[in-house]
């Protein structure tokens, strides 16, 4: 299997978050991941898309979110980038620490890291690029192409 790449340019809206989640679900399913892993991938993509649309682009209609899926023989690689003010991973508080446990927000990046095998966060000046990687195991085979 050769690498296959699909790129989507999305508006900074909640509808785009739902679209990103849906596309992630389709591509992860087509990549042969089981139902539980597909759910984890779609949720990680949803959280990253929320960060891009809400925290990054702040719903600015002039700013776009770029969503890229790349299927390689070894992994599904998803990249989500925004055009916002940037995110420094060092500034993200630990949501599991006792003083943060009952805070209503701040769990998105933590969940992304919990659900994916690798997560990379890069500052784009302006914007943030988050790369999510889920490795294939030997039992996962590619299915039909997602639409």
């Amino acid at each position: 299997m050769t690498a296959k790449r699909v790129v989507h340019r999305l508006d900074s809206t909640l509808e785009s978050v739902n679209q990103a989640e849906q596309k992630a679900s389709e591509i992860a399913t087509a990549s042969g991941f089981d139902e539980e892993v597909v759910h984890r991938i779609e949720m990680a993509v949803r959280e990253a898309a929320v960060n891009a649309v809400y925290h990054g682009n702040a719903y600015d209609p002039n700013k776009k979110v770029t969503l890229q899926f790349e299927r390689t023989p070894d992994a599904l690689i998803i990249t989500i980038s925004d055009e916002g003010r940037g995110l420094d991973p060092a500034d993200i508080p630990d949501p599991l620490s006792p003083e943060n446990l009952l805070k209503p927000s701040g769990r998105g990046i933590f969940l992304i890291r919990s659900f994916m095998d690798e997560v990379r966060i890069r500052q784009l000046h302006p914007g943030t690029e988050v790369t999510l990687i889920k490795h294939r195991t030997n039992t996962e085979g590619s299915k039909e192409e997602p639409k």
């Binding site: 949803r46 929320v50 446990l101 209503p104 927000s105």
Partner: protein
């Protein structure tokens, strides 16, 4: 599927049956409004039945936490009932499983509220 809810009363406990998705936007906002409305009307013993909740994101988790602290700060109790595996796993990952009082039997849950 967006979130739907219905409310019933048993032995002084308000049971909120939720179904669908509790996510950023409609679902989490709706949950916030439901809990605020119940508190305003003096309902201090609230049981959220999540048995038919199919999906919850970090915003939805945050809304559950807000509901819990709001009710508790008002002198009430908020408990969770019938977690699906997905919601159960999320609450474990986020260490919130130890914060919420979680039940899997409605009658037992109702009895567990302070009289």
């Amino acid at each position: 599927m967006t979130m739907k809810s219905s409310t019933r009363q048993i032995d002084g406990v308000t049971i909120v049956d939720l179904s669908g998705r509790i996510t950023l936007g409609e679902g989490s906002t709706m949950l916030r409004d439901i809990v605020r409305d119940l508190i305003t009307k003096g309902n201090k013993r609230i049981l959220l039945n999540l048995g038919d909740v199919t999906y919850i994101d970090s915003s939805g988790i945050g809304e559950l936490v807000s509901a819990f602290t709001t009710v508790r700060n008002g002198g009430g109790e908020l408990k969770l009932l019938n977690l699906t595996k997905k919601v159960h796993d999320l609450l474990q990952i986020t260490k919130l499983y130890t914060v919420f009082d979680i039940k899997d039997d409605e009658a037992v849950a109702i009895q567990s509220f302070a009289k």
